[in-house]
Amino acid sequence: MRISSKTLFDSNVASLSQQQARMIQTQQQISSGRRVMTASDDPVAAARALEINQSDAVNTQQASNRVSVRNTLSITESSLTSVTELLQDVRTAIVQAGNGTLNDNDRRTIANGLSGRLQELIGLANSTDGVGNYLFAGFQSRAQPFVNVSGVTTYNGDDGQRNVQVSATRQIASSNSGADVFMRVKNGNGSFVTQASSGNNGSGVIGQGSVTDPTALTGHNYTVTFADVTALAAGTNTGNGVISTPAVTSQSAVTGKDYSVTLNMPAGTYDVNELTVGYNTQTISTLDFTAPGTFVVDAAGDNDTVTLTGAYADEAALVAKIQADLDVDAAGAFAVTSTGSVADGDFEVSIARTAAGAGSTAVTISATDAGAIAGGVANSAGVAGGAAVLTGQPYVSGETISFAGLQFNIQDGSTAFADGDSFTVTSPGYTVTDTTASTTRLPVPPATGRMPWASGQTISFDGMQFDIQGTPANGDSFTVVPSTNESVFKTISDMIAVLNTPVSSSSAASLTNSLSHGLNQMDNALDNVLSTRSTLGLRLNEIDALQSAGEDLSLQYKQTLSDLLDVDYNQALSDLMQQQTNLQAAQKTFSVVAGLSLFDFI
């Protein structure tokens, strides 16, 4: 191909300048350390680098957030440590105040000490982060959250909690609401408060109790009322039977039910003279005489049966047997006379019922449980009547009656008891009333009566459980109400007020109660502060974990950025060497080629 001289030079110059340009670029890359100097050098890497830069910057933001949160949490932690110590001191002082040997002055001294501690505590609750922001004020960090006006400390902050972004997906609270730390100290066991009524006479002591099923809690107020066993004659009685105070013979058999005991003594006269028992002939005139050896007497409607087994040696033995089986008492409710002779094997027995009123005879007793009190009318739950525990039992005055673990008797008083007289016997036990809803919680409707109870037995209902030790007296009651918030300031203020009040012998118990309440509240307050401190610790731990994760991430971003943008020195230096060689070769050959000219030879 023909080459024009101009082309020779032009193409060589172009090639040289291209090579130089490349060398310059490589040299610039080496001197700047960056492979991508403008977006066009590697548009994908440049755009990606912007994203990575952003992620890296955000990660750096979060790292500084972590430092800031850690500082705030550490300050909070240290002020709560002081609070803990202070509360422990207060607790010790309250324990000390319970010492019975102290007099009013001693207690006043303790109260003065507590006043100082209260002010100190308010100061701690108003701690700042060092630049004037209150730590326990919620969102209102510029306004003093706890203000003590005439002895009452109020919280002016709010529930706001400041969250700070400490990793891409995690926000951590850097503050705690003062209300949560100091104001929301639940009294009692944290869910409910148990308390004995002031008028209790028995020795029953109610425990703090615990929650067994948080979802079943109702928030209602309850009263647990104890009743002893009682027996009472109905006001409508016409006779004058006297019922004894029932004794509990078997705690385990106590049902808690109320019972109605009724005595029946049918009026009128009837005669069972016709009743003859034929030893051999077995004839009977008016009563049903069934299979040999067994016959039924239904004079009083109670279907007594007489069972004769084998031969009887004499008439007396037979009479005794009949008397026994017929539930005829020795007093002669029935007169049994013999009309025949044993010898002829054909004797007859005649049972004569004496006329009513002639003696304490023909009395029967019945008892039914409380379900049937209303005359057998179905109760609200649709359960008809209570079950009978005694039915038409012949009864004589003073005889012992036992059922449902109770034992008592009814005796004739100034006059005998009369037909239809009734008595109410109540089992001992407790009832629980929901005073908010005015309903009975225990026993669970439709049952009535009360729950059988033994000292120390667990009482549970509506998700709560507690026990009562000792022996409550009849009518003693205990209240169970939902816990309310009592600020730690109020607890201490109350303690101060209590300790400043002179104690007389009559108010000693009240002092003890107040002090024990105060102790309990201090424990609750301590628990509250300690649980806050434990969440602080957890947060600090998490920040430490996130910190190292964040540092790893930062390293990774830097590595990625470097991979994207930075020059690979090995590559670049090797490129430079090669380009240099190429350029030198091109320069040398150019001078050779350009130097060749025919004109040199003519």
Binding site: S4, T38, A39, S174, A179
Partner: protein, 721 residues
């Protein structure tokens, strides 16, 4: 004997002319556009004698340009493309260096703004942190402005480059016309037998220069002249006539110069995209395809940042407990009414939704019956129908356009939504306490509560809402349209014209005599203000209209439990009647707020949602502001602010990279084509040296022949002596 002399002389002459031609070639070896010339020689016809034809020597028939029209045309083609690409690359590199610079680019400025915002979120009480934020905001705004200014400078520079290029084109065109004349006359002087080679070289060189400015097509005419045309056949030079190009201000953007065609006294606007190739083509393409999209993209990011930050700030409370205001000045779309419009309609536009914004410009057209909106980047057409009531409102790609009556067929309006975005971004807040770090409301569980119920800190509930008239239209139904299907908030609300209708914190009024069943209105959060955007459905047939839309996020309400499973609400607007069923953790939304209550509240427990007064330490809104950085606020919810900027950098980088590669490739292509063309037409000095020797020898030989002839003649004379 005489013919011997003649013959020798002709040889000497030919050799001399050959030498002259060779020397001409040698002399012009480096002359741009020079085509080597070659002497054309032929033997003279012989003299007839009885024994045959005796040669009479040589005659020079002409000096010919060694010229390949095909290769020359190819060089022209490659040349115009090469200068187009290298010029484009050259101007593109200016933006490339500008946008991706880790220090000077906008990304670093946005980053420092959000870094400062994070600082405020960590320490909302700190005035120095707030001051730093405002400083960073200023820095970011300045950065956007200065990049935009730089792009604007480049645009202004382009104007003068376009003018310069047009001047060059006109000058070259006049020179070509003049040469046309000279060549025509020179050719005519030889009856078309001989061509004025060097004039033609000069003209080719001028055409080549012209071609570097703009792609031309050349037609050779029979009289030796050429006709030069550009674009879609606009003749620039014909014979000795020149139709000059002119620069005029754009009808849509007076700051922009465009190229027009001067035909006689008439100035004809050219479609700029038809002017391709060469420097001028590169300038125009760069401006339309790279510079303005880049400015728009930059403006979009600036708008996105300013509006999102403003909107979030407006939802919060500042250090003084006052509702937040704007931190940034937000640019309005650049609107221009086409200067050739005949109607009187006026137009205005606002940005409604930054998420939906594109980087394109738009043209609103009216054809006499319908309005259409054309997105100029891809010519996508949105039919806007034929509204009958004015001002008519349209919403296309996040831009709300309002048009007054009076448009006539053929009227056009240019809307550039994001063009001013970066230029007009300014910090309007000067008081650092006005940064709204707190939320308007806070929640509080009463200290007297006995249950374990806890209330969440609450979140804004600004879900869009629709109001639809029932049948009969005496009542309407209000639904939350953020869910699918929409959740009915309240059904069967009695309609009273002009009464306040309040949901989710806003209050609007529907007024008018005759609502029709099915008429509907929607309320949605607007990007541009702390108010709601009210829209009447386009298909409404009734006579009612909606107004108001005031947003009040500071309406307290309280929740009181009447049992562990039910609660009542007081203070809600509209009032809530009766007990509500409590489900732990479920959303409870009133007055524009949503809270959740968890745990087990008991009867009598109270939870308050109250005005967040005095909340210096509340950083919730600052967290939301800070979180904007990582939210996909842009490009239809696909990109963060910096991501959208990254797209700009990527686009510019990719384009520059592409131009770098293609312009290099084109240079090589051009070099090859030139080499091919030069291998035909270029001067090879060695060849010329050989020619020198050849013609010298030829001359010497001819002279020797002459000498021999003279000797012969002398011999003859000696005989006679």
């Amino acid at each position: 004997m005489a013919d011997l002399f003649t013959s020798a002389l002709s040889g000497m002459n030919a050799a001399q002319i050959g030498l002259a031609t060779t020397e001409h070639n040698i002399a012009n070896a480096s002359t741009p556009g020079y085509t080597r010339q070659e002497m054309q020689i032929a033997s003279r016809p012989g003299q007839q004698t009885g024994f045959g034809f005796v040669g009479e020597g040589v005659s020079v028939s002409g000096i010919k340009r060694i010229y390949d029209e095909f290769l020359t045309t190819q060089v022209l083609q490659e040349q115009t493309q090469a200068s187009y690409l290298s010029t484009y690359h050259g101007v593109m590199k200016q933006i490339d260096n500008l946008v991706a610079d880790p220090v000077a680019g906008a990304s670093a400025a946005m980053q420092s703004f959000f870094d400062a915002m994070n600082g405020v979120a960590s320490n909302p009480e700190s005035v120095p942190a707030r001051q730093t934020l405002l400083g960073a905001a200023q820095f970011a705004a300045n950065r956007f402005q200065s990049i935009d200014q730089r792009l604007s400078d480049i645009a202004n520079g382009l104007n003068s480059q376009i003018s310069g290029s047009v001047n060059t084109i006109n000058t070259l065109a006049r020179q070509i016309a003049a040469l046309n004349g000279n060549i025509k006359r020179a050719t005519a002087a030889t009856d078309g037998q001989q061509l004025p080679n060097d004039l033609m070289d000069q003209r080719d060189q001028l055409i080549s220069q012209l071609n570097k400015e703009i792609k031309v097509s050349v037609q050779n005419q029979s009289d030796g002249t050429v006709a030069v045309s550009i674009g879609h056949g606009q003749t620039l030079v014909i014979d000795e006539q020149v139709s000059a190009l002119r620069v005029i201000s754009s009808s849509t953007d007076p700051s922009k110069l465009e190229v027009a065609y001067q035909n006689g006294n008439k100035t004809i606007a050219l479609q700029q995209s038809s002017l391709q190739g060469g420097n001028l083509g590169a300038y125009l393409a760069f401006r339309d395809q790279s510079l303005e999209p880049a400015r728009n993209a930059l403006g979009r990011v600036a708008l996105g940042m300013a509006m999102s930050v403003n909107q979030q700030n407006q939802l919060g409370l500042d250090l003084k407990g006052v509702s937040g205001g704007a931190i940034f000045n937000v640019a309005v779309p650049r609107i221009s009414v086409n200067s050739s419009n005949t109607g009187s309609a006026g137009i205005s536009a606002t940005i409604g939704d930054v998420n939906a914004l594109t980087t394109s410009d738009y043209e609103l057209r009216y054809d006499g019956s319908r309005y259409t909106m054309i997105r100029l980047s891809d010519n996508a057409i949105t039919d806007l129908g034929s509204p009958t009531s004015f001002p008519a409102s349209f919403s296309v790609d996040g831009v709300n356009v309002s048009l007054t009556a009076g448009a006539l067929a053929g009227d056009r309006f240019m809307i550039r939504p994001t063009a001013n975005g970066a230029r007009d971004m300014k910090v309007s807040m000067s008081d650092p306490s006005k940064v709204a770090t707190a939320m308007p409301m806070r929640t509080m569980a009463a200290l007297t509560n006995t249950g374990t119920g806890a209330i969440s800190s609450g979140a804004l509930n600004l879900n869009p809402v629709s109001i639809t008239f029932d049948n009969p239209p005496t009542t309407f139904t209000v639904s939350d349209t953020s869910t699918t299907p929409p959740t009915v908030l309240e059904a069967g609300v009695t309609y009273t014209s002009g009464n306040d209708i309040s949901y989710n914190g806003w209050t609007a009024q529907i007024a008018g005599a005759a609502p029709v069943a099915g008429d509907s209105f929607t309320l949605a959060k607007d990007s541009s203000a702390a108010a709601m955007r009210l829209t009447a459905s386009a298909s409404n047939t009734g006579n009612t209209s909606i107004s108001g839309g005031a947003l009040d996020l500071q309406q307290p309400f309280s929740i009181t439990f009447t049992s562990p499973t039910t609660y009542t609400v007081s203070g809600a607007v509209p009032a809530v009647v009766g007990a509500q069923t409590y489900t732990p953790g479920q959303d409870i939304s009133y007055n524009g707020w949503t809270v959740q209550i968890s745990g087990q509240p008991f009867a009598g427990d109270v939870f308050n949602v109250e005005i967040n007064t005095n909340a210096a330490g509340d950083n919730r809104n600052a967290m939301s502001l800070s979180a904007l950085q990582l939210q996909n606020l842009m490009v239809g919810g696909t990109a963060t602010l910096q991501g959208a900027y990254g797209q700009l950098v990527g686009d510019v980088g990719a384009k520059t990279h592409e131009l770098d590669v293609t312009s290099h490739a084109q240079e090589n292509m051009l070099a090859q084509t030139i080499a091919a063309q030069q291998s035909i037409s270029g001067v090879n000095l060695d060849e010329e040296a050989a020619n020198l020797m050849r013609f010298q020898k030829a001359y010497q030989a001819a002279a020797k022949a002459m000498q021999i002839a003279q000797t012969m003649f002398d011999s003859l004379m000696a005989i006679g002596r």
